[in-house]
Symmetry: C2
Subunit: 136 residues, 2 copies
DNA sequence: GTAGGACTTCGAGTCAACTCGAGGTCAATG
DNA sequence: CATTGACCTCGAGTTGACTCGAAGTCCTAC
C-alpha cells in the first residue's frame, strides 16, 4: 500500500542526518548493524529509527566499542533484555580494558621520561646499555 | 679473511637472544632498521651489536614508537647527534600523543559510566533519547 | 650421498573499518 | 527522450607490523 511513504529516507539523507557516509551505512548493513525498512527499485529506504540507530552506533564507537561489540549489544541478548543491562555488561568489560590501556600508557610515559635523560653519546652505546638494562 | 668468524650469529640465534622472530628481523631489515654485517652463502650473519640494536627497537616499540618513528630515531638525525637529543625530540612528541590518548580514554570512561545508568527499556528507546541528546 | 634442519626469496594473507572505482540502474527534469 | 545525479553491487585497496607458505639453497652429520 504505502509504496511511496514520504517519511522514507534515502541512504543519502540518513547519512547526512546521522553524520556518517552512505558507504559506511552499507558497510554497517553488511555486518548486521542496520537494515533498511524496505527497498524501492533497488534503493534502500529507511525510517527515522535508522537515524537514531546510527546515532547509537556512533555513540558506542566513540565510547570505544568495536562494530563487533556493538553487534553484541544489539543482538547478543534475549529480545527483552533492558538497555541498561546490555550496556552494563559490555561497559564493564570495556572499562577493564580501558584500565589496562591507561596503565600501559603510564608505563610508556615512564619509559619516555627516563629515556629523555639519556646521556649516551650515540645510539649504539645506548643500545648496549639497554641490552645490559640501564641507559646512562 | 675472517670469512668464518665464530662470533658471527645466524638470524636464528640473534632472534633467540633478542626475543624476536627471524621473520620480524627480516622485516625490520626490509624497512631499514637493522642490517646483517655480512652474508655467507646467502645467509645473513650478525655481530653482537645486532642483538643490542634489536633490544633498542623493542624498547622503543614498548615505549609506543612505530617502526617509522624508530627509523627517524636511528637515521633521521645528523650522524653526530647524541642519543639524548634524539630521544628527547621523539619522546616529547610521543608524550603529547599519550596525553591526547589519556584524555580520550577519560572521555570514554565517562561515557561508559553514564550509559551504565541507562533506564531505557530497550535500545530503540535509548537510541531515540540519544539522538535527542539524553538517555534516561 | 643423503637426510635434516636452518636458512633464502617472494608474494599473499591477517585484522578493522571502512573507502574507492568500475560498470550499471533508476527516477526526475528539461 | 536524453541527461543528470543519486543510487546499486562487487571487488580491490588502505594502514602497520608482521606471519605464513611455497619452492629452493646450503651446511652438517651420519
Amino acid at each position: 500500500m504505502t509504496n511511496t511513504n514520504h517519511d522514507d529516507l534515502t541512504i543519502g539523507e540518513v547519512a547526512r542526518r546521522a553524520g556518517v557516509s552512505p558507504s559506511a551505512i552499507r558497510y554497517y548493513e553488511s555486518v548486521g548493524l542496520v537494515a533498511p525498512e524496505r527497498r524501492s527499485g533497488g534503493r534502500r529506504l529507511y525510517g527515522e529509527a535508522a537515524v537514531e540507530r546510527l546515532a547509537l552506533i556512533s555513540f558506542a564507537k566513540d565510547a570505544g566499542f568495536s562494530l563487533d561489540e556493538i553487534r553484541q549489544l544489539l543482538a547478543g541478548f534475549p529480545e527483552d533484555t533492558p538497555a541498561g543491562v546490555r550496556w552494563t555488561e559490555l561497559a564493564t568489560a570495556k572499562l577493564t580494558e580501558l584500565d589496562a590501556e591507561s596503565q600501559r600508557i603510564e608505563v610508556m610515559r615512564g619509559a619516555l621520561q627516563r629515556i629523555m635523560r639519556c646521556r649516551c653519546s650515540d645510539l649504539d652505546q645506548c643500545a648496549e646499555a639497554m641490552a645490559k638494562s640501564r641507559c646512562r
